[in-house]
């Protein structure tokens, strides 16, 4: 009897040891890679494999400081100047009852922004002719390619609305981008335009400043200080964010003497979308 008990005890101990060792191995297998990734996370160095940066656990976390609240003190001097000057002129200037044919160009930000823009156009008797969404595009694509030229030639808009920059917030080759911005400005020629700055999800390295300096006075809307609701990618403004964004752009237009057309807030955003949508992908076709 005691031999049997002792045998059973031994078996149980054996099973327990086996089970314990497997669990310890499991703990190690789960924990070791995560510890390594955390060590890498808190390390200032970054590793690359085949030119691809190995991302860290929290690399892309957006700090609260990066979320910039709309604050007039943070608006650029040039934009402020335009608004202040135009506020003074607001009473003097008379809104002309003009119907614009609008060409909306830009990077993926146009994808959602085109809906509130369309609603504004419908409510104010403008026509949104076409939208050109160039995914992953930067000012380099628009400046150095002939896409914008051909679209302007084709649609002959009376107003060009342009938004770009979200894909180049980290860009540091600013001289090259300044050259591209100037080339794009030259393509627009004498056609009235509104240049919208990117809806920053983080601080940029100077791309907004380049756009602001390239655009004529009062033609550039700085979006970076707006606090916008973001889509699930945490970068692009969401549908709700785009509506707020468009309202801010419209306020800018109404307060400006450069744009003397009607651009009142629509009663509904649920408007049928009729404009022609053209899409391209800069990752496949950079255009120059």
């Amino acid at each position: 009897m005691s031999t049997e008990l002792s045998y059973l005890r031994k078996q149980m101990l054996k099973t327990f040891n086996k089970s314990r060792n497997s669990l310890l191995a499991g703990s190690l297998i789960l924990g070791l890679p995560i510890i390594l990734l955390h060590i890498y996370n808190y390390n200032p160095y970054t590793f690359h494999i085949l030119d691809i940066e190995l991302r860290k656990i929290k690399t892309e976390t957006i700090n609260k400081e990066d979320l910039i609240v709309l604050n007039s003190s943070k608006l650029s001097n040039k934009t402020k100047k335009t608004i202040i000057t135009n506020k003074d002129k607001e009473l003097e200037s008379k809104v002309i009852d003009v119907s614009h044919r609008i060409l909306f160009l830009g990077d993926s930000e146009t994808e959602r922004l085109k809906y509130p823009l369309n609603a504004y156009c419908e409510a104010n008797n403008h026509k949104l002719e076409a939208v050109f969404t160039w995914y992953s595009a930067t000012i380099l694509n628009f400046g150095f390619s002939k896409k914008a030229d051909s679209l302007i030639k084709k649609y002959k808009p009376t107003l060009i609305v342009f938004v770009v920059g979200l894909n180049e917030l980290r860009a540091k080759d600013l001289e090259k981008r300044e050259k591209a911005a100037k080339q794009f400005r030259a393509k627009i020629g004498k056609t009235p335009y509104l240049w919208i700055g990117p809806a920053n999800y983080r601080e940029d390295e100077g791309i907004n400043l380049i756009f602001e300096n390239t655009a004529d006075e009062g033609h550039f809307f700085l979006s970076k200080n707006l606090k916008l609701d973001r889509a699930s990618d945490n970068r692009h403004p969401s549908k709700k964010g785009c509506e707020v964004w468009m309202d801010s752009i419209a306020s800018f237009i109404r307060a400006s003497s450069v744009y003397n057309f009607k651009f009142e807030k629509p009663k509904t955003t649920d408007v049928k979308f009729k404009a022609k949508v053209i899409m391209a992908n800069a990752a496949k076709d950079k255009g120059y």
């Binding site: 191995a25 297998i29 391209a280």
Partner: protein, 485 residues
Amino acid sequence: MNKLIADLTSFFDYSLKEPWFFTEFSFLLCLALFLLLYAFFTPKSPWKLLYLIAFSLFFYYKSSGPFLLLFILIIFCDYAIALWINRLEGNKRKTLLVFAIIYSLSFLLYFKYSNFIIVNLNSLLLTKFETKSLFLPIGISFYTFQSLSYIIDVYRKEIDPSKNILDYGFYMTFFPHLVAGPIVRAKDFLPQIQNPIVFDHPILKESLLRICTGLIKKLLLADFLGKYVDLIHEAPRGFTGLENLLAMYAYSFQIYFDFSGYSDIAIGIALMLGYRMKENFFNPYTAENITVFWRRWHISLSLWLRDYIYIPLGGNRKGLINTYLFLLITMLIGGIWHGADWKFVFWGVGHGLFLVLHKLLPKPKENDRQWTRVLGIMFTFHVVGLFWIFFRASSFASAFDSIHQVVINTNLTELIGFCNVRPEIIILLFVSAIIIFLPWKWKEIIINRVISLPLYLWPIIFLIALQLILQFRDSTIEPFIYFQF
């Protein structure tokens, strides 16, 4: 160093807005540390249970903060009620059961459905009752169903009530199934407390594989597909029929990867701790009809609805018409369980109607099995996908917009342009379709091959999988879709 200290301090904070998921790297690290000590408890030690309960409660606290107290209160009350029911007989027993069911459901009704009821009452009776801003305690739909099944099983004398609050507390709080299922039955789980499975290397590899595939399904596939789905469903009318159609496929895949990924991780972790939970999914999109689909999709919920609603209503014992009616009622409850919204009711009833329709149709002949099976799979997948549109859309209008675009404005020649603009979505849909429609036999072969890999390779497999996830994921992790139910 300061960053590390700040991260460690904030770790003990709870966040109602950002629950602590299985997919958080901090959770996985915590789990590894937890296992380190867990390994030294003997299988039947009460300290092991206490240790597990403490960790489970901490896990719940991280996601629901003060609602942890409500959860503990519910556990104690359920435990006492079950013991009381067990002592009574006859009408008293029945009355107490009715009271227990009403009491259990009252929390769910208050937190999940009160605003829905108020809004509908206001529009029906033209009253002006104010809605309240209520936080839905995480996992309440799941643990309410679990506690109900326990009390009803005790009433039916299918199980003895737990004599030990620790055992019952452990069953209810066990963190792998706590917040989003699978809905575990007491009769399956409680006996395991005294007889946990013997943990060895093959089981370790099985559990690691489940966790790894779950993470990849959720973080790599579901979240990526979700971004495209979100975009289309924000304004379905602004996108072509083809884009809406692909969004329907994408969401069908997304919800499967999301929820089955969660279940995989939950089952994998439970296995590591020595407990086996039943499968919650079994190749559901390869079902040749809607009845088979519901035997393979969210199995724990389907079985719960069958055992605690459909059969008690009368099942198929009260004539054909009543059978269909009971089926519709069951699916309606299943629909509204997912959320307090008419679109979920519509989704549930829609599935119920198709289940009835399937029962009405003649069964295919044996000779026609092969081609009817393929057609059946395609048809069932599309019917399920169509109903997913209502499940995902922000409103009925948005769902109908999407369907309108699919029916009226689908032009397959646009596929070339779509491939040019969004190649990553096409690749992802293609890969997802292969994973989803691969026959189970082939999947088994792959699983066995991976499990046979030597143990020393597993940290490397895990590291590669985690780094891959990091390379593709964005800054925030999308919550599991079923967290909100």
